[in-house]
């Protein structure tokens, strides 16, 4: 078969951001998967509600609003440094500067992880008490896994920014990491509304 050269791509860049980057799509699909899992946990939460006369069940206190509200606010604030780190990455600013802002996000992440322990105590139930305890613990623990994974990944990218041979693709990784972090925080706002707020009205 003869081949005719109709298109030369030698001058194309080998770097891109956002929906032009394959990794951005991989991350988005990951978010779809995890988002679907969270959605089904919410469905389970309300499905199990039907088996109880009161919600939370009798002799169980309402979950504490105090700590959980602080954690929501804290996570929402953490979006700001992440957004700024992504903005710097888009502009190809010096890696150390991007890394510093990412470390700030990690600090917020660690704080949120510590607060999660108090939130679990504030549920006033255990995973093996009854179905209410099981599903609320499942939601909080699964989201905790996301907080830990998100913080560790952010830490890893920050370390690359400080230590590693930085290539431009790591800037793409930073912006993709930001999208994932927004998902972690956004999904918690929804789950917090379910577990800590809606429980007071249903």
């Amino acid at each position: 078969m003869k081949r005719r050269a109709v298109l030369d791509v030698a001058l194309l860049d080998d770097h891109s951001f956002s929906y032009r980057a394959p990794i951005w799509w991989g991350n988005l699909l990951m978010i779809f998967i995890e988002g679907a899992a969270f959605a089904l946990m919410v469905v389970t939460y309300y499905y199990l509600r039907r088996n109880f006369n009161t919600w939370p069940p009798e002799r169980t206190y309402l979950p504490d609003m105090g700590v959980s509200s602080i954690n929501v606010v804290l996570q929402l604030i953490s979006v700001a440094p992440m957004w700024y780190a992504a903005k710097l990455a888009f502009a190809h600013e010096p890696p150390e500067e991007v890394g510093r802002w990412l470390m700030l996000v990690v600090a917020f992440g660690i704080a949120a992880i510590i607060l999660r322990a108090f939130e679990l105590r504030g549920l006033h139930t255990r995973y093996d008490s009854n179905a209410y305890g099981s599903i609320t613990w499942m939601i909080l623990i699964t989201h905790l896994a996301h907080l830990i994974a998100g913080s560790l990944e952010t830490l890893l990218i920050a370390l690359v920014m400080f230590k590693g041979p930085v290539e431009r693709k790591h800037y793409t990784d930073t912006t993709v990491m930001a999208v994932y972090w927004y998902f972690v925080v956004g999904s918690w706002v929804a789950l917090w509304l379910v577990v800590f707020v809606s429980v007071r009205f249903i």
């Binding site: 003869k2 050269a5 109709v6 791509v9 194309l12 991989g26 089904l40 389970t44 099981s134 690359v160």
Partner: protein, 654 residues
């Protein structure tokens, strides 16, 4: 950017661009072969990240599990061939039918359909590898781990025995103590990770790596089928992820998701399981539709009739597939409105299926059909799938379903749909693509034997089950009394299984014999229209010498005879591919694929090991998380190598 600006087509330019000389081709071929050479030996095998190597072992592994699942089916038929048979006892029988269902669904059908996609999709869209090669390798190792776990447990008499859908309360801690169900739940963890990885790979590869000019309306139907299936995997599998986790924690750390005494709910399991389980059927079936389209187009030498209708039918099948899981639960207390809704939704699925059948008939009618073994399997598919579809419409109706629920009628129905609707197209695909994978033709004579033995055996085995079901024979009984009058039809069904085994033997003989004595295939033995036939058989590790430029829906038929338009300018000294835009496939950037590494295997061993530990202790999860992070950190940690980036960016930034 206007399409014509981005892609100057031949007619837009006053003088046709030059042909690439043989010298240049040889030069590029030598460089690409050196860059993309796969390491030899065991180490090369363990570290490979080439999509074809991985997909081939995926397919072979899945076929081995198909054979094992078939052996279990053979044992079931042996046991049921006469009343009060003592071939196996009730406990082993429970394990065997659970293993059969779990193997066929989780270790054969879904993986093999994805594996064929992982082999063919990059070739068909004209790229050099899948988007995330290392992740792809991890997917295979996880899948293998799940299969090994299940069978290791089975041989230690710890095979799951609560049915492939593991209904609670039977599968709960109270009624199935021991570790049998835990093994099942963790096998699910392995295979769901593998399936999700495959889905992410396929979608990203198709969205971002199509050859220039392959706009959405020019994507081959098989590729469409794989993309649609992958989206179904992404939205359906989370349901089994969380339900199998709930089941495992109910059994291991005393949560109460499914324990009615503490406010849990047994029907919750059925809802979550079938919200995954019904789409699962279409996850198996839709790739098969894509294969049928490829076969029909190739062996009628006619463009597929009604391409937009075909794509939209597959999309609507996928959407509807999420809206009818409750028809598996008609025997549970449901609100009447729910019954009506799910009956209507279940019947509605026959509409897009019907549209496709008519499109294929129109294609065959107006084409010049060649009755090869591959095409015969497609004709068999029409016959069997339509029977399965008709009984499907029957069981979609609640009053009828209540009569035949949990009887052999249902067994007959879903074997017609799954064997007829998925396995026959898969075999049609084997006969179509075997020359591409191996460079040799399969024997047509043995292929016809393969087909007729399978077709006859399939009908002799499963048709009598309709009648047995109507006579009241329930599923999952290890034996029955002579007075029931089920002996004759069961003996007939068991006889049919002999034909199926014989056809399997013919297939295996054909595959191995053709490897050495099959006629050489050449690049495109069937004069097929899609891009996988534009490269040699078997394809080189870099797939296409030059990335093709696509000028129509059937690239090889639309190109000038004996000529292919191609892209130049990609680097040959590293694993480089082309990223194009999602809608019109306009070139956007060059892209470096990750190279081979041992890390995916390490992650599968340590991560998988911790999943196995989690059968016995919740600490498995913690240990696994730590190992996973360490390995992922190594995975992502940048290394400077001369080919890691363009000279401009290789220096330390800024």
């Amino acid at each position: 950017m206007a399409y014509s600006e981005a892609l100057p087509m031949r007619e837009d330019t006053p003088e046709p661009p030059p042909l690439i000389t043989v010298d240049v081709e040889n030069d590029v071929r030598a460089k690409l072969s050196a860059t993309w050479r796969e390491k030899s030996g065991l180490w090369g095998w363990l570290t490979s990240t080439n999509h074809k190597s991985i997909a081939k072992r995926y397919i072979i592994t899945a076929l081995i599990f198909f054979a094992l699942g078939g052996l279990e089916a053979g044992m079931i038929r042996m046991q049921l061939s006469r009343p009060e048979n003592r071939f196996v006892g009730p406990d082993l029988y429970n394990q065997i039918f659970t293993m059969h269902g779990s193997t066929m669904m989780f270790l054969f059908a879904v993986p093999v359909m994805e594996a064929v996609g992982l082999y063919l999709v990059p070739l068909m869209v004209g790229t050099r590898n899948v988007a995330f090669p290392r992740l792809n390798a991890l997917g295979y190792w996880m899948y293998l781990g799940g299969g090994v776990l299940l069978y290791a447990a089975f041989f230690m008499n710890t095979g799951p025995d609560a049915g492939w859908f593991a209904y609670v309360p039977l599968s709960g801690p109270q009624f199935t103590p021991g570790k049998r169900v835990d093994v099942w739940a963790q096998m699910i963890t392995f295979t769901e990770i593998a399936a999700l990885i495959g889905a992410v790979e396929i979608i990203t590869t198709v969205f971002k790596q199509r050859a220039p000019g392959m706009s959405l309306n020019r994507i081959p139907l098989f590729v469409w089928a794989e993309v649609i299936t992958s989206f179904m995997i992404i939205f359906a599998l989370p349901a089994i992820v969380i339900s199998s986790t709930m089941l495992a924690t109910d059994r291991l750390i005393d949560t109460h998701f499914f324990n009615p005494a503490e406010g849990g709910d047994a029907l919750l399991w059925q809802h979550l399981f079938w919200f995954f389980g019904h789409p699962e059927v279409y996850i198996i079936f839709i790739p098969a539709l894509g294969m049928v389209s490829s076969v029909v187009e190739t062996f009628t030498q006619r463009r597929i009739f009604g391409y937009p209708a075909m794509v939209l039918s597959m999309v609507s099948t996928a959407f509807l597939g999420f809206g009818l899981w409750v028809h598996h639960m008609f025997a549970t207390p449901l609100p009447q409105l729910g019954q009506s809704f799910f009956t209507a939704a279940s019947s509605a699925i026959s509409i897009p299926s019907g549209v496709q059948i008519f499109c294929w008939i129109a294609t065959i009618w107006s084409g010049r059909p060649r009755f090869t073994a591959s095409f015969m399997f497609v004709l068999g598919f029409f016959f069997l799938f339509i029977i399965g579809g008709l009984t499907g419409v029957m069981v979609a109706s609640v009053p009828y379903d209540l009569q035949v629920h949990d009887t052999f009628f249902v067994v007959a129905h879903f074997h017609y749909v799954l064997l007829g609707g998925a396995v026959f197209p898969l075999w049609a695909g084997f006969y179509l693509w075997y020359p591409k994978l191996t460079g040799r033709m399969l024997s047509e004579r043995l292929g016809k034997w393969n087909f007729w033995l399978f077709f006859i055996g399939m009908n002799v085995t499963f048709f009598p089950m309709h009648i047995l079901g109507l006579m009241g024979m329930p599923r999952r009984v290890y034996t029955y009394l002579p007075e029931m009058g089920w002996g004759g039809l069961n003996a007939l069904a068991s006889l049919g299984a002999v034909f199926i085994v014989a056809s399997g033997v013919v297939f295996v003989v054909n595959v191995f014999r053709s490897l050495s004595v099959g006629a050489p295939a050449g690049d495109n033995p069937w004069n097929a229209p899609t891009l996988e036939w534009a490269t040699s058989s078997p394809p080189p590790s870099y797939n296409h010498l030059f990335i093709p430029v696509v000028e129509g829906r059937d690239p090889l038929w639309d190109a000038a005879p004996g000529e292919l338009s191609v892209v130049t300018g990609l680097r040959t000294d590293r694993h480089e591919g082309l990223v194009t835009s999602i809608m019109d496939a306009i070139p956007e950037r060059r892209y470096e694929f990750k190279k081979e590494t041992i890390l995916p295997l390490l992650l599968a061993v340590f991560g998988g090991g911790s999943i196995v530990i989690a059968i016995f202790s919740p600490w498995g999860v913690t240990i696994g998380a730590i190992f996973t992070f360490i390995i992922l950190a190594c995975w992502f940690w940048p290394t400077i190598s001369p080919d890691s980036d363009t000279p401009l960016a290789r220096r330390r930034l800024p």
